[in-house]
Amino acid sequence: MMKKIENREVLEQIRQTSREQMNKSKCRVLICAGTGCLSGGSGAIYDRMCELVGEHPDVEVHFGPEIAHGDGEIGVKKSGCHGFCEMGPLMRIEPQGILYTKVKLEDCEEIFHRTIEKGEPIRHLLFKRDGIEYQRQEEIPFYKKQTRNVLKNCGHIDAEHIEEYLSIGGYEALEKALFDMKPEEVVSEISESNLRGRGGGGFPTGYKWSQVAGQKEKIRYVVCNGDEGDPGAFMDRSIMEGDPHKMIEGIMIAAYAVGAREGYIYVRAEYPLAISRLKRAIEQAEECGLLGEHILGTDFSFHLHINKGAGAFVCGEGSALTASIEGSRGMPRVKPPRTVEQGLFGKPTVLNNVETFANVPMIITEGAQWFKGIGPEKSPGTKAFALTGSVNHTGLIEVPMGTTLREVIYDIGGGIKGDGEFKAVQIGGPSGGCLITPHLDVNLDFDSLKKMGAMIGSGGLVVMDDSTCMVEVARFFMNFTQNESCGKCVPCREGTKRMLEILERIVEGKGKPEDLDLLEELATTITETALCGLGKSAALPVMSTLKLFRDEYVEHVVDKKCASHNCSALRRFIISPERCKGCSKCARNCPADAISGRIKEPYVIDNDKCIKCGACESACAFGAIHIEG
């Protein structure tokens, strides 16, 4: 248990001791304990490594999460997400900076005896690409091309111990704000930095804070939006799991700047690990007095609570989120009054997302000018993206705003997976749009993307290759939005339902050419009249795909074909007479009695009876059945 930090000097002392202890350990083994690697078995790898260190008393070591901060020479730690999720479980060994990928339980012994004891790298565990073997993590192209500021500590510190965060300068920004800056100076520093909300809207953070700070009402709240509901996005999850204190520090600085005494973090229920890490982080901060009354002996007091979501995407919208914390249905309300005027419990509220808060401590420490030096002036800083889909290296990445899509997909992501060709990237989830080959050199920042009819959204980048049907993708997103529509306003409730029906009709081969016009008309109406951001952007995936892939829609509607064979109702199975041996296996497996023929003669499929299930294709031992076209 850590002692209470009563003033600035004690904080610096503790930081110093933590740093010295960190430096003492000759070797640090950081095993990724993010959601991804844990599912690959990193928990057992951690236990095995601890066991191995324990079994060898001849190698003088002290370790373990509880005593890792003693004076041991080998520290085995559970770190946050390294981001290279596809290659997990990951293990980083310091001081060499070696990154082992796809580590298995049986590799532990070898790692201990060769790398930890002798400092030798183990070749088969190193990352390889294009015949090159990468010994150091920082040299791997996936990392080399990134600028990891917000994610800097993720994967490098043990997220479950506040001492680790303190040892690398944690809570220095809070200290600077509390002792060297007035609240209004903090607000103007953030305004000056041009930091814009990372949750998708890109609203200037400093302006938001100044509006709250300027309200007559003195009870104010700070709320952190960790309801990362966009399918295909997990940046915020990784920050909450891998570096929770950075975000908490940012929330506290905001609270100091706007004069709030209470704060809430709203985390979606699908992130159990993030919730438990945050709980632990808050407990530790309370224990040592960094949260609570009279923080560091000043007049600033602050309490932080966690609220768990209950499975409603719309709660990512500001007024719905605050309604949910208040214990009501999470439904957006008409604005104004805005959240900054009447937010949580009707009081002025700063509502920012996880990544935005995680940027704050760096801006306070390094200054607004430093921050503006990264990326374009109007939308500076870095942005974390969740790179997923048909790309070689999926994972969590961070690049300066303004980086091109090409650099992200090809340099960092290692190009398209398998033999497929790049077709599109879906950005911004169900509120976003698609970008295609001519857009590969577009800069990824708020303003450039808006011009393209897309948006950064929260930062999900789902890469799609030519095996993906864009009409089906549009249907997928519309299905999602329709499910999540809260039902309060008519345009969204009814409009998305009608749009979904049309899209379903099209993928089932029952579409009519005039459906495309109807889709566009509905899209415009919903966008212009819906109550909240969910509704206003609900039609974007359809509009974007209609604009970029109109041919595909026409093909579905007119020719009743789906070139990528995604839409099962549009498939036509045929039996090649040359290959068919007439064994009758397909006919026996067909649940619809659609296949007929005589033994030892080629069989035929009656496409009127066929239910397109594909049972015949998988049953055929001679590869004689395939989809036409």
Binding site: K308, G309, A310, M331, G389
Partner: protein, 157 residues
Amino acid sequence: MLNQAYYDKTDEIIASHGLTQAALIPIIQDIQAEYRYLPPELLSYVASKLSIDEAKAYSVATFYENFSFEPKGKYIIKVCNGTACHVRKSVSILERLYSELGLSEEKATTDDMMFTLETVSCLGACGLAPVLTVNDKVYPAMTPDAAAELIRELRGA
């Protein structure tokens, strides 16, 4: 009728959160975590304890997808159908599980109360798509065959 133990447990949960309306969601979340579903009797009970209308409590419980008035199986399987999982063909995994377990979109829980099969919009494990979870444990890079094998293992366990 639920036996008294349910009400005692609920009292305990209410006490840990306090008697405010803002505590409603955390309270019913804890009840659901305890019993794997939200017994309707307990929702009414909580509403009366918090002095809020039963209708209001009911409106909240039905709004959020996580709450279920129906008992769930021992193993709750959630197949992720987020974008990344979807483009890596998660639907075929779901279909396979439906047929393995004899379930459908309308029928989510097996008669022996062993399995509940649900879909979820995104689990945030997109780097490992397609994924599913069994009682919150994440299973990465799934295939229809691996999912079927997992069911066999769970049945044996």
